[in-house]
Subunit: 376 residues, 4 copies
Amino acid sequence: MRILTAGESHGFANSVIIEGFPAGVKIEDKYINAQLKRRMSGYGRGKRMDLESDTCAVISGLRNKFTLGSPIALLIKNKDHRILPQSDDAQPALNVPRPAHADLAGALKYGTSDVRDILERASARETTARVACGALLRQFLEEFGVGIAGFTVSCGKVASKLAPASIEEILGNTEGSWLNCIDSKAEKAMIKEIDRAQRNGDTLGGVIEVWAQGVCPGLGSHVHYDRRLDARLAMALMSIPAVKGVEIGLGFEYAGQYGSTSHDEIFYAKGKGFYHKTNHSGGIEGGMSNGEPIVARVAMKPIATLKRPLRSVDLVSRKPQAAIVERSDTCALAACSVIAESMLAIVLTESFLEKFGGDCLSDIKASYAAYIKRIK
Amino acid sequence: MRILTAGESHGFANSVIIEGFPAGVKIEDKYINAQLKRRMSGYGRGKRMDLESDTCAVISGLRNKFTLGSPIALLIKNKDHRILPQSDDAQPALNVPRPAHADLAGALKYGTSDVRDILERASARETTARVACGALLRQFLEEFGVGIAGFTVSCGKVASKLAPASIEEILGNTEGSWLNCIDSKAEKAMIKEIDRAQRNGDTLGGVIEVWAQGVCPGLGSHVHYDRRLDARLAMALMSIPAVKGVEIGLGFEYAGQYGSTSHDEIFYAKGKGFYHKTNHSGGIEGGMSNGEPIVARVAMKPIATLKRPLRSVDLVSRKPQAAIVERSDTCALAACSVIAESMLAIVLTESFLEKFGGDCLSDIKASYAAYIKRIK
Amino acid sequence: MRILTAGESHGFANSVIIEGFPAGVKIEDKYINAQLKRRMSGYGRGKRMDLESDTCAVISGLRNKFTLGSPIALLIKNKDHRILPQSDDAQPALNVPRPAHADLAGALKYGTSDVRDILERASARETTARVACGALLRQFLEEFGVGIAGFTVSCGKVASKLAPASIEEILGNTEGSWLNCIDSKAEKAMIKEIDRAQRNGDTLGGVIEVWAQGVCPGLGSHVHYDRRLDARLAMALMSIPAVKGVEIGLGFEYAGQYGSTSHDEIFYAKGKGFYHKTNHSGGIEGGMSNGEPIVARVAMKPIATLKRPLRSVDLVSRKPQAAIVERSDTCALAACSVIAESMLAIVLTESFLEKFGGDCLSDIKASYAAYIKRIK
Amino acid sequence: MRILTAGESHGFANSVIIEGFPAGVKIEDKYINAQLKRRMSGYGRGKRMDLESDTCAVISGLRNKFTLGSPIALLIKNKDHRILPQSDDAQPALNVPRPAHADLAGALKYGTSDVRDILERASARETTARVACGALLRQFLEEFGVGIAGFTVSCGKVASKLAPASIEEILGNTEGSWLNCIDSKAEKAMIKEIDRAQRNGDTLGGVIEVWAQGVCPGLGSHVHYDRRLDARLAMALMSIPAVKGVEIGLGFEYAGQYGSTSHDEIFYAKGKGFYHKTNHSGGIEGGMSNGEPIVARVAMKPIATLKRPLRSVDLVSRKPQAAIVERSDTCALAACSVIAESMLAIVLTESFLEKFGGDCLSDIKASYAAYIKRIK
C-alpha cells in the first residue's frame, strides 16, 4: 500500500491517493466525515475550527460504496482558499520565521524568504488528509475485528492516572468529553489549566494514548529493522506535528524496572490460544504484534504559536523581529488523538496487507481465517 | 540509499549491502572494527562477549580504501557457527518461547514450533551488521563535520543528571567508562545496581542519549509525513531490540511545559547564520534539522532472558513450561548506545544524500558548500 | 520523487500527486492543457474524443505559478461522470470480458463478475493523468535544456523510413500532421490504411519513436540492475496500455549486426566534451545516459475493442458470448506518442533528481552547472 | 521482497541479500550451482569462462535446507581476486573508456579517470548474483508448478523459425545444445557464424526467448502503471547487460497486424477454467498474467569488447586512443538466456508474494489453493 497526501492550509483542497488497497471493502463517507469532525473539536481550539466543517469526497476507486482495487482518491476542500496556483495571490510576504515551527529550516531548505511558502504545507491542517485516510482504512480493519481508540492522558501538568481495560471502555468514557479524556475529574482540572494558559496568551501540550484491539499476532517482523511494527509505529506517531516522544507499553517506565517484574509471561487456553495476563509490552514483542492490545503514548509539545510572540529574525533584513501570530489554539490534544489513531490505522493496514496479501476482501478474509485457525 | 542486512546469531556471518553510497569516500576498516569492539564492551555483559572479537571485511564496493559508487558489502564472520544451511545442524528443537522476545509471535507468524528458527535472527547479534554499516557511514558524515556520540543516562533506577554541552564533552567524559557514562559518580551507583541484579539472576534496562553535532539545517522535510527527520529517527531508534520509547529534545518533558518557556527563539549572527540559544527541540523543528545538535533519548527495557526463568508454554504440547535461559547479560546499555549512534548515522546519511544528491564525494562537497554559503 | 495516479474512466476525475518535486519551478497550466489536447487528437479516434476537452487544475503545491516543494496535486475532471462512489450508479452489470483487455484477468484477480469494475480503471483514459504529470515535469526538464518529442514510425503495415536528426526536426515536421508523422508521404498511406480498417470494423497498431535531447551524461547507473536508465525507461514505456515491445537505439536490429560496425566510438572536442559520431546505442550505454539523444521505440498492438466483436465467455453463466463494443477508435498512435513522451519525462526527472538532489531549482541549477563544468 | 546485489568482477565475491522471502521453502544449493554452471557455458565464450566454476554458498536465512523467513544471503567467491579494499591493488590506471560500455558515462558520473573503477562493477560478471538469486527463487516458484525456460532464437543474422509449444519442449530440445537452441539445424549455422566472427576479431549478438509456464491469472495489476507485470518484466529484462530490446508475445510484430486477427479470444472449459486457444499476448493482458505461458524476447547487442579495438579518447590527455581489449567472448547468448530466466523468476516471485502474502510456504499454499478454486 502506498499513500501520498497533498494540500496547503489555504489551498484549494487537501487530497490523498491510496494505492494498493483491496477491492470489495464497503466505505461509508459519513464514517470519514465523523472522524474529520472529531479532529476539529476539543476544548482549547481557536476560532478557525468553528468555521471549518470538513467533508471528504471519495473521488476515485469507489463504486456503489465498494472499493474497486484501483487507487482511491480523497478530496477535502478548504473553505478558506487564498493560495492561488496560477495567478498572484497578493498576500504580503511573511519574512519572520516563527520559532518551534518548520518556518526557518523550511525557508532555508527550499530557498525562499517568504515563510508562507513553508507554513502553508507545514500547518497541522495537513492532518485532515491523514485523518480521512485513516478513517477509510479503519473500515477495512473493522472487518477483522480491529478497533482503535485514543484518549488524553495529560494536559500540561495535569495528568490522569486512570488506566482503561479495553477500547470499549475508552470509547464509552471519552464520549461527550471536551478533551477526549476518560477521567472526568482530571478533565475538569485540565480545562482550568487551558483557561489559565489562554488568559496568559500561552499554550499547552500533553500526552495522548492510543489503543488497537483485536490485532492478531504476527504483524510486523523481527527479520529486518525497518519491518518491525514498533519501528513503523514510532515513525508514524512521531510524524504528527508537535509530537516529540513516542513510547510503547511501559515505554520509558521500563527503563527503571527489573526484568523479573516487567516481562509478560506466556499462557495458553483452549479456544483462546496463546495469551498474556499482563501487557507491559504494549502488544508488541520482537517487532511483532503479540495478540494483546497495542498501546502507545505520544508526547505533544505546547502549540508553537503564542499570542505573546517569541523572538525571531527577519529573513531579509536579518534583524531581530517578533514572530507573528497566525493562529490561536491553546491546546490541540483532542485533535492529536484522532490523528494518532489515524496513523495507527495506516501502520496496521500496511502490515496487515503485507502479511495477508490478497486483492479483494473475500480472499483476505479466507487467508486470515486460515491463519487464525492455524495459530490456535 | 538502500540497506539490507542478513545473518543469524550462530550462522556463518552477518552481512550488509549498502546501495546508493557515493564514490570517492575513504573507508578505514579499522574504524569499523573499533565500533564493533565498542558494541561488545560494557559492564553487565555475559561470557559470550569475551569470546567475540568481531572484525568486518569490506568485500565489495571498495578499492584501495576508496568507495567506487557500487554497492558496498560488509561481512562479519561469526566465531560460533552452528546453524547449517545445507545439512542437519542437529540441535535439539526448542519449543518453549521466551517471554518478552520475538519467539512466540515469530513462531506463529513463520509457522514453526522450533523457536530457534526465530531467535537466531531476532537475537541482538543482528546489530553487529547495523554497527558496521553505521561505522562506515560515519566516515562519510565526518567529511561534512558531522560527529555522533552517545552516553548512558540511566541504568535501572539510577540516573545521571549531567547534561553535556557538546559531543566533544561526551566523547571526553565517556572515555574509559565501563558504562559509557559521562557521570563517573552515577556510574558507580549503576555498577552496584548491575551487580545486585546479577546476584538476583535479574536484568536491567535504562536510558541512552545520542547526539549528532554539525548537522546543517534542512535535512528531512515537512512536506510529507514519511520524509520528516524526526519520524525517520524515531523509526530507526525504535527498531533497536529492547527499545520501547524514543524522544527528541525535551521529549515527554515538553508535555508538561508552557509554550512561552519551552520554545527555542531564533537569532542571527554574521558568519554564524541563524541559530538558537536553547535546544529544547533537540535540533529538529517541523520535521527538519534546524542546525542545532540533534539530541534523542531511547528507553531500553530490561534484558529479556533472565537466569530466573519466566513462565511460558510449550508450543507443541501447549502445556505450561519455564522458558529456557539462552544468554546471561544483565545489562546491555553500553552496546545500545553504539547501536543508537549507528542508527542515527543511517538516518542522517540517507537524508543527506536525498538533499545533496551527487554520485561522488567531490560533487557532494561542492553542492554542500554552495548550500551553506546560500543559507548564511 | 514519488507519483501516484487515480481515476476511473467515468469517475469524477483523474488525479495525480507528485511528491518530491523541487521548489521554485515555474509551472504554466496552459502548457499542461496543450499536452492534454495533443493526447486527444490524431486521426483514427472515435467520437468520445471530440467531446473531451480536458483541462488540468493544479490544486496543491503551487503558488503564484511557482512550485513550493510540497506535493503537487493535479485534477482533471471527467465530463462524462457515471461511476458513483456513494450511491448506486445503476449501470447494468457487464459480464463478458473483452479479449486483449484487462477484463478477464482483472475480474478473476479482484473477485468481481462485473467487468465494469475493472475496465473503468484499465481504460486508456487513465493516461490523462500521466500526460498531465509528464507535461508538468517537462517544464522542469526544459530548465536544463532537455527537450522531448515523439513521432509515428509505422501504422499497421505502412512504415516511414525517414530518420530525424534532432527534436527540432521532429517538432517541425510533425506540426499539423494528423498522425504525428514526420513523413507526409507515408502519412497519406497510413490514413488510407486507417480508413480501410475502419470500414472493415477493424483496428490498427503501429510503432512510435520518442526522443529526449540535451540529456547530460550520467543519468541512471550501472551499479544496480534496477537503477539502470534503460531498465527504467523500458518499464515506463511498456506500462503504456497496448504497448508490447520496447527498444532503445538500434534495438532488435542490433541482434543482427557485428560489434565492429554497430558500436559508437568515442571522440572529444574542446568546449563540446566527449561525444559520439553515431548514436546506435540510443543515448544509453551501461545503463546510463551518454550525452547523445535518448531514442526509444515502442510497438503498439491494434486497439483491442473491435466493431466486429471477438469471441468470449460470460463470467456468470460461463457460456460463450460475443464481447461487447465499448468504444470505437480505430487507431490511437498519435495519443501513444504523447503518452510515451510523458513517461520519458517521468523517468528522466526521477533520474535527474536522484543525481542532482536539491530542494529548489536554484540549488539544482548550481549542482548541475558544477557537474557540466567538471565533465567537460 | 527486496533484493540487493554487490560485487566487482575481480573483487572478493559477488553477493546477494534477499529480504522478504517466506519461511519453510526447501533450497538446494546444488540447484543454484547448476544454474551458475549454465551461465558460464555456451559456444562463443572466451578463456576466462573455462577457469570459472562458480559455487554459491547460502550464508544466511537457511537452516537444515529450509528458509527461516529471515534475509537470505548468498556468496559466490571470485577465483581471480585482484581488487583490494584496504590496500593498494597496484593495477595500472586504465584511462581509455571502451565504446558501448559503461566506461565513459560511469567515469564522468562517478568522478574518476581510471575506468577500472567502473568496469569492475559494470562487467557482466555481476549477473552471477542475479542467476544465483533467480535459481533460489525458482525453487519457490516450482512449489506452485511454475516452470521457466529460455532458448536462443537468433545469433547474428542466423535465425531459427521453430516455435516451441511448452517449456518441456524447450528443455528437451535445448539439452546438450551448445547455444541453448531448440533448432539443431539453425544451431549449426549459428556456430559457423560465431567461428567466422571470431576469426575476424568481431563479436555477435542475437535474440533470446524466455517462457514461464504454469503462472496463474492475476499477477501484476492494471491499477497503477508501475504495478503492471509487463512493465516490471520489461524493466527486469532490459536491465541485463547488452540488452537493447524487449518484447512480449507478438511484440513488434503486433504493430503490423489487424485487431481482428491478432487478439486472443476467450474460452471456458469445466475443470480447466477460462483459457485462450492462441497466445499472441504472451500471457499478459492489461498488465496482468492471463493464465497462458508468459513469453518474452530480448535483443542482445554484439559483445562490446572487440579484438579489433574501437576508437576512443584518453580521459586524462583527452587525446584519441584505441580502446583496450579486456576480454574475448565472441558471443554470450547462452548465458543471456540463463540471466533472462533469472530476471523472469525475480519478477514473478515478487508479484506472487504481493498477491498471496504469507510468511511461510504452507500459508501461501493455502491462499493459492483457495484462489485457484475460486477462479475456476
